[in-house]
C-alpha cells in the first residue's frame, strides 16, 4: 500500500508541523492509540491527541447526549470556555447556564472544591449579586463552596482570574465580564486557556452583552433565553406554571466545528442538562378514579390558581374557568 503509506507520511509530517507551531513535542502515537470519538473525531489537548482514558475524564458531560456529541463528548475540563449572552437583560439566563456547567464540572470531582466567581463591581451592580440561597437550591452550590471576588476594575478581575486559573484548589473559575473590552483579546484568552490547561480545571468566561470575536478558547457557546417548561406534577404538567429553567444554546466555536442550536433545560436533581422536550399532556402515573383528592403538588400555593381554588388538582380547568391573567394577551 504505497499510496496509503505516503498519505500517512504526509499526515505525520503535517502533524509534526502543527506540533511545532503549537510548541509541543510531536506525537508519535499510532492512530488506534489516539483518542478517537465514535464519529472519527480526534480530540486534541495542547497539541497532543488524547488517549482513551483521558477522553472521558477530561470532558464534562452536560447530560444531553446530542449536545455532548455535537461538542465531541462534552465541555473540555482543562480549558477556557466562553459563554456569551447577547444582551445584558439576558444576564439571568446566561449566568444560569454558566453555573449549570460549573455545577456539572464540580459534580464530577470527588472532593468538593470551591467555585470562584470573579466579576468587576459594575457587573454585579448591573446584573445583580450572586444570591446563595438560589444557587444552593438550583445548582447545589453550597455557600461553603462558593467564593466571590468583586474587583474595582476590569484589569484587576483579569489578574485575579489568571492567578486563580492556575490553582488546582478551585473546582472551577467563573470570570464574568461585560461587553467587548479591548483588554480581553486573543492574548488574554490564551493566557487564561493555557493556565486552565496546566491546572486541569475549567475556566468559564462569561461575557454579558458581547459579540463574538477571536478567542483562544476551544469552545464558545451563545446563550439566549428560552421559555421554560411546565412544572411536572403527578397529575401531569401544570399549565401556567414556570418549570425548570430553559436555555437556547448555540455552538459558536468548537473543536469539532459542528454548529447547531439546542434547547436545553436544567435538571436540578441530577445536576445536569437535558433536552427540553415537548410537554406531554397527561399524568405520569395513572390517577386513581375512586379518589378525588390527590396530594397537592410540591410547590407554593398560587393565588388565582384555579386548580387549587377548585380544590381538584386532577382535572384541567376549562377555558372559561381560568383567571384573567392566563388568557392570551391581545396585541398592543
Amino acid at each position: 500500500m504505497a499510496t496509503s503509506a505516503a498519505a500517512r507520511g504526509t499526515l505525520f509530517a503535517l502533524r509534526r508541523k502543527i506540533a511545532k507551531i503549537e510548541g509541543t513535542p510531536a506525537d508519535t502515537l499510532s492512530p488506534d492509540e489516539v483518542g478517537m470519538a465514535s464519529d472519527g473525531i480526534v480530540l486534541r489537548e495542547g497539541g497532543s491527541p488524547l488517549r482513551h482514558p483521558a477522553l472521558t475524564e477530561s470532558l464534562i458531560a452536560t447530560g444531553d447526549a446530542d449536545f455532548d456529541a455535537a461538542l465531541g463528548g462534552g465541555v473540555p475540563r482543562a480549558a477556557l470556555t466562553e459563554i456569551h449572552g447577547a444582551e445584558m437583560r439576558d444576564a439571568g439566563v446566561v449566568t444560569g447556564f454558566a453555573l449549570g456547567l460549573c455545577a456539572a464540572a464540580m459534580k464530577a470531582v470527588p472532593q468538593s472544591l470551591p467555585l470562584l466567581w470573579i466579576a468587576p463591581a459594575e457587573n454585579n451592580r448591573e446584573a445583580g449579586f450572586p444570591y446563595a440561597p438560589g444557587l444552593l437550591e438550583l445548582f447545589g452550590i453550597s455557600p461553603g463552596s462558593l467564593l466571590t471576588c468583586e474587583t474595582p476594575k476590569l484589569a484587576d478581575a483579569l489578574w485575579v482570574a489568571e492567578e486563580a486559573a492556575r490553582l488546582s484548589a478551585l473546582g472551577a473559575v467563573l470570570l464574568e465580564l461585560r461587553g467587548n473590552p479591548q483588554r480581553v483579546d486573543l492574548t488574554a484568552t490564551r493566557r487564561l486557556h493555557f493556565r486552565a490547561r496546566d491546572a486541569g480545571r475549567p475556566v468559564f468566561l462569561l461575557r454579558q452583552s458581547a459579540r463574538a470575536e477571536p478567542t483562544a478558547a476551544p469552545l464558545r457557546l451563545s446563550i439566549s433565553p428560552a421559555p421554560a417548561g411546565m412544572r411536572r406534577t403527578v397529575a401531569g404538567p401544570l399549565s401556567g406554571s414556570i418549570g425548570p429553567p430553559a436555555f437556547m444554546v448555540e455552538i459558536g466555536k468548537s473543536r469539532t466545528a459542528r454548529s447547531g442550536s439546542f434547547e436545553l433545560e436544567w435538571n436540578s436533581h441530577e445536576r445536569s442538562f437535558r433536552k427540553r422536550g415537548p410537554e406531554i399532556p397527561g399524568s405520569v402515573v395513572p390517577v386513581p378514579v375512586h379518589r378525588r383528592h390527590l396530594a397537592p403538588a410540591s410547590r407554593p400555593l398560587l393565588a388565582g390558581d384555579t386548580s387549587f381554588a377548585a380544590g381538584a388538582a386532577d382535572r384541567q380547568p376549562a377555558r372559561e374557568e381560568r383567571t384573567a391573567d392566563r388568557r392570551p394577551r391581545r396585541a398592543g
Binding site: T95, G96, G134, L138, G144, T148, P245
Partner: protein, 457 residues
Amino acid sequence: MGIADARAMHPAIEIVEADPAADRRLLEGLADWCDRYTPLVAIDGEDGLYLDISGCSHLFGGEEKMLDDLLARLSEQGFRTRAGIASTAGTAWAAARFSGAAIIAPGEEAVFLAGLPLAALRLDGTVCAALESVGLRSVGAILEAPRAPLARRFGRMPVTRLDQALGRVEEAVSPRLPVAALSVERNLAEPINRMEDIEELVFMLAVTARGSLETRGEGARLLELALFRVDGVVSRVAVGTSRPMREPHLIRRLFHEKLSATEIDPGYGFDLVRLSVRESARFDARQGDLVATRTGDEEGLALFADRVGARLGRQTIRRPVLAESHVPERAMTTVAFADAPAVEHAAPSLDLGERQVPEAVERPIRLFGRPEPTEASAEGPEGPPFSFRWRRTLYRVARAEGPERIAPEWWRAPAEERTRDYYRVEDTRGRRFWLCREGLYDGSPVMPRWYVHGLFA
C-alpha cells in the same frame, strides 16, 4: 505685636498665617521618622517628642552617639532641634529645653534641676507666677522648701512635677503606635530604591523573623513593613494573612503584590527597612498527607486569597453565609475569606440544606443590591403583572407564579418596611424575573410600588 507694627520695624518681613494642623502633621511625620531609634515615641504638646530609648542606645553606640546622630540627621533635614537625655521624662524635658544636648546621668537630676528656672518643671504660667511672686524663682528654691505648705498654698502641681522630674513618681509616656510583638530591621549604609531590592530585603528579614516565630510557636497574621526614606518620610505597608504564616518566600510574595499595587515614592532611597509582626497567632505545624494533596490545596487557596487581599484589599474575596431570615436581602450576607472560619470543603452541604428556605420556594440566582423600581400593570389590584417597564424596555409577561407574600420582620424596629408580594414571571422571550409589589391596597395613602428584585436562571 500686630502685623502693622512688625511691618513698620521690618518692612521686608513675610507674613505667613499659622497653620496648627500642618504643624501637627509635621510633628507626626517627625515622630514616624523617630521610630528608627525606638518604637516608643510619644508626642509632647505642640513642639516636642518623647523617645523612650531604654535598651535601644547600644544599637547606636551609646547615648552620646545616638544623640549626635539624631541631631545631625535632623539638622540635615533642616530642623533646628534641641535634645536631652535623662532617666525621667521631666528631667529630659528640662534638659532639652534649658540646656541643650545634655545627658543627665541617673541620680544627678536634682543637681541639674537646681540651677534652672521654675518653667523647667513644666508648670502652668499661673502657678509659676504665684511661686515667683513669693520669691521662689528657681527649682533649687523649692527643692529644699517644706512640701506641705507648698502644696497647701500652690496646689499639688509643683510637688508632683518635682517628684516626676526626680523620679520619685512614675510618669507614663504613652507611645503613638502599638509596639509590635516582633520586629526585624536592617540599617543600610547605602539607600536602596528599587522595589526588587526591597523585596529581597523583606525576604532576608523574614528569614530572621522565622526563627523567632518558630521559637514562640507562632505565625504572623498581620505584617507591617516600614520603609524609612533618607529625607525623613516613613511609608508603612501592611499585609494580612488568612492563616498564620512564617514562610519567608510566601511573605515575600505577599509583599510583592502589595508593593506593586501601592504607590510608594522611593525618592532618594530608603536607608532603614523594618518588618514587624503586628498580630500573630498559634501556628500548628501539620503532618502532611503522604498521598493526598488536600492540605496543599487549602494552603494554596489561602495564599491566593492573601495575595489578592494584599493587592486589592482584604475584603475582595468573600464567602457567602446564609442567615436565618425570610427577607430575601437578609437571607444572605458575605464575610471576607480571611475572616471566615476555615470551612471543611469536604463536608457535604446537607446540614446547610436542612435549615434552608422551605422546599419548593424558588429563589433567584442573582439579586440586585437594591430593588429596581419598575412600572408594572396588573389586571387586578392584587393580581400578577401582565407587563412591566424595566430599564426603559417594556416586557410582556407570558406566565406568572405567585404571589409569595413576605412580611417585614416585626421583631426589628418598626421601620417603613411594607409587606411585599413576590411574583416569579417569565416574559414572552423566556427571561425570568423576580418582581415584587411593595405595599398593599389597604387604603393607606402610599400606593403600592413595583420592583424588579432579582433574576432567575
